[in-house]
Symmetry: C2
Subunit: 357 residues, 2 copies
């Protein structure tokens, strides 16, 4: 009967609604399995800018670092889109990832039989898809310096930098191999080695790491080809490991295999401190406050928290089974609505899942 401190950062837009839902589910799990979850709340993103003048207030970061795990909603909105870079909601997200050293972002992509009609892809293509995207999250094009305007030969110009230390590449590729070892034993390393020097180092490191995992198959794939293969034949994948920006693009694309971005959870792990869990979708300002958002991605992120941070496999299974059961029973939020199914609100969906636990 353990006690666990969970830091909750609702953020902006639908972030509030979906984290509220996930907290309810965690409470239900606590009741059923006799765990004590203590929730504390912090500001991040646009609301933090409005209230504290910064997208990641110190006290939020402190609270997260002292917690056992962090649950995050989403950040951003048109209100802050014209702000200078350091006063953008997304900066808060990038900073917390960096400050907590959350270098390994795990994004599972799993097929749901009951959502097969919601996907733009043919059922034969997506049936039984089950892979994991391992996205590097604290380096690459997102964090490299310089990232600035400059004047070059009298002309206005701009620069961003894709930077990696070899060690940063190594640890994320190792994470991918360790995961693959417990899965279908295949790693697809995605890069653009025919153009980028960073990708060539990436490929070298992947080959080196692979030597220490003789039972795991390593395959290299160019990022343009990967963007195609993800929809051409997604069943070929087990674990995909890639650079921050490539991972961002490919995982949003992959969400369509499950029918909606509203279905995909993620875990961001560090080597030492607490991990952070968040849906891969954004703050969807146009949906915010309407009780329409799909809470499942965040609820499944909470399940990942139970599994990865607290070692609670049974509890995580209970959430995942409840989600499947409710979908199978025909309940749908608007994003995955289909003819003949029952369209429910965010809170109704949460209640149904809670009832199923």
């Amino acid at each position: 009967m353990g006690e666990y401190r969970i830091a909750v950062l609702p953020g902006d837009g639908i972030g509030k609604e979906v984290t509220k839902g996930a907290v309810e589910i965690l409470k239900a799990i606590g009741d059923r399995f006799h765990h004590q979850f203590h929730f504390s709340y912090g500001l991040i993103g646009g609301e933090a800018i409005d209230q504290e003048g910064t997208p990641l207030p110190d006290q939020t970061l402190e609270m997260c670092k002292k917690s056992d795990a962090v649950l995050l909603g989403a950040v951003g909105g048109p209100k802050w889109d014209r702000n200078p870079p350091h006063l953008r909601p997304e900066k808060g997200l990038l900073q917390i990832r960096k400050e907590m050293n959350l270098f390994a972002n795990l994004r599972p992509v799993k097929f749901y039989e009951s959502l097969v009609d919601s996907s733009p892809l043919k059922p034969t293509v997506i049936q039984n898809v089950d892979f994991m995207i391992v996205r590097e999250l604290t380096g690459g094009l997102y964090f490299g310096k310089p990232s600035e305007r400059r004047v070059e030969q009298g002309e206005e110009a701009v620069v961003d930098t894709l930077f990696y230390k070899r060690e940063e590449i190594k640890r994320i590729i190792e994470a991918a191999f360790m995961l693959a070892k417990r899965r279908k034993k295949k790693v697809t390393s995605v890069d653009k080695a025919n153009v980028l020097e960073s990708s060539r180092m990436w490929r070298e490191v992947a080959e080196e790491v692979a030597k220490r995992f003789p039972d795991v198959e390593l395959e290299h794939m160019l990022v343009d080809n990967a963007a195609m293969q993800l929809i051409r034949n997604p069943k070929q994948f087990d674990v995909i490991v890639t650079e921050n920006m490539f991972g961002d693009i490919l995982s949003d694309e992959a969400s369509m295999l499950t029918g909606s971005l509203g279905m995909l959870p993620s875990a961001s792990l560090s080597m030492t401190g607490p991990a952070l869990y968040e849906p891969i979708h954004g703050s969807a300002p146009d949906l915010a406050g309407q009780n329409k958002a799909n809470p499942i991605a965040t609820i499944l992120s909470a399940a990942m928290m139970l599994r990865f941070s607290f070692g609670m496999n049974e509890e995580a299974d209970a959430i995942e089974k409840a989600v499947e059961q409710v979908l199978a029973a025909g309940y749908r939020t608007a994003d995955v609505a289909q003819a003949g199914k029952r369209v429910v609100s965010t809170s109704e969906m949460v209640s149904e899942i809670k009832a199923a636990i």
Copy 2:
């Protein structure tokens, strides 16, 4: 009855087979419409490395610059994959794009009714899709310096650079608007403005250019969202304009809307000199020399040449109609094969298209 000098660069792998096919089609067009096409051949890519010690020999570049248009196959293969960067086949392609100032890469994505079963996407999603990806081709992450290994605080590291001059962004966005004006009057500018400084400049420039095209609608879309929207609802697009690397990824992904990478042509335009036409697919080493490759992407690239470089709309239409007719008659290369269709070789496909002209 004009005379036209066409430089042909077959390159590696299936590049040879597909350019051979396209040249045959151009000859058929010349015969039927009484044009004189003069073909001259040059080395590029892996074969150029083997024979001349460089992926882009000077005489190839000279020949291309003096031509009226260039037709390229594809470059690359496992034989050269471990070469140092300056001796890679892809370097030849990047160099010719840069040297000829081919900054605007046009990649049309068009639905073919007869190929609807070849796509992994549902027919309702892809029916009537017709958009153009305008990819910046001579800047961004592909060309920025530094692109190198370094030692940083005693640790091995690597860097690539995403660099743009404001003028480079302006001219590609202008190209997109000019195209959109003659199409459905909508430009979707794809960036990652919530993270990258270069994307923020991109967005600014897009807004500025848009003011001069009041009848064209401008929409901004984040690249992760774009990767999703391309398969969720591709009908929403008319002209997509984006950075070099983003364009590379998104256009390969978009090829799945038509069922195969083997269907997508491209034109690379400069402000001043001759343009270059090439399929968007690669050299497919595993297919090379087997007379199995789909020549349609290259044949449609030749049609784009007629239209864009020589102003021959009727001739271009003739090719495009012939392709549609042959597909409708049930002929398919292996990449788009379906039950009940007649699978043909590269040369048979070329003959059928020629016969239809």
